[in-house]
Symmetry: C2
Subunit: 118 residues, 2 copies
């Protein structure tokens, strides 16, 4: 494989809350997304999910608190925990989670997006 | 768990080529390290290894080529592939790999360092 430049990968799409696969290793996937606005409440039954902010600010709402993540910070949502990503302004994030984890977790609706390779 | 601030974590140690665990998910570990100079040639029999450069520049030497990774770039070394990380100046890197992956892979010598929690 070749190295991956995150800035170039982020420049290759513009939609919000669509995940793009940029790396695969050990049954896990590295994904990136641009987010703005409110996503939906969901959880992943069998997958811990890591959110790393590359640019901007992201809030991970949990049922009992909000976690604010800035550039160079990450947060891991444990499996089974309901969460909702929210960003007032566009943020660029990197995700790390098992392959084939659905963006909407236990929910399947119009926000569901099958991740594609960026 | 709480969010993790990478800048704060990097400020908590100064040794080179020592890996510090900053996150755990799905049987994988997120580690950080400061690197400067040449590491040793090694491979990981059963682990793909991702190197993301947070600050500075890193070269991953492979037997047939060198891969130069700058800030905001990453490279995944597939399992079984011999590699040697090299950095002329101090670089800060983040690693993703299965839990309990040894930094020196198939080699165990004075450069071997059991990763600790940062």
């Amino acid at each position: 494989m070749d190295k991956v430049n995150l800035t170039q990968k982020f420049a290759s799409f513009s939609e919000h809350f669509q995940q793009h696969i940029v790396g695969e290793l050990n049954g896990q996937e590295v994904k990136i997304a641009k987010v703005k606005g409110e996503f939906i409440w969901h959880h992943h039954e069998d997958a811990d999910e890591m959110f790393l902010v590359v640019k901007g600010n992201l809030t991970i709402q949990l049922r009992d608190r909000d976690v604010h993540i800035g550039e160079g910070e990450f947060f891991i949502v444990p499996r089974g925990i309901e969460h909702r990503p929210v960003a007032a302004e566009e943020a660029h994030i990197m995700l790390f989670e098992p392959a084939n984890t659905l963006n909407t977790g236990n929910v399947r609706n119009e926000r569901t997006y099958e991740a594609t390779r960026a």
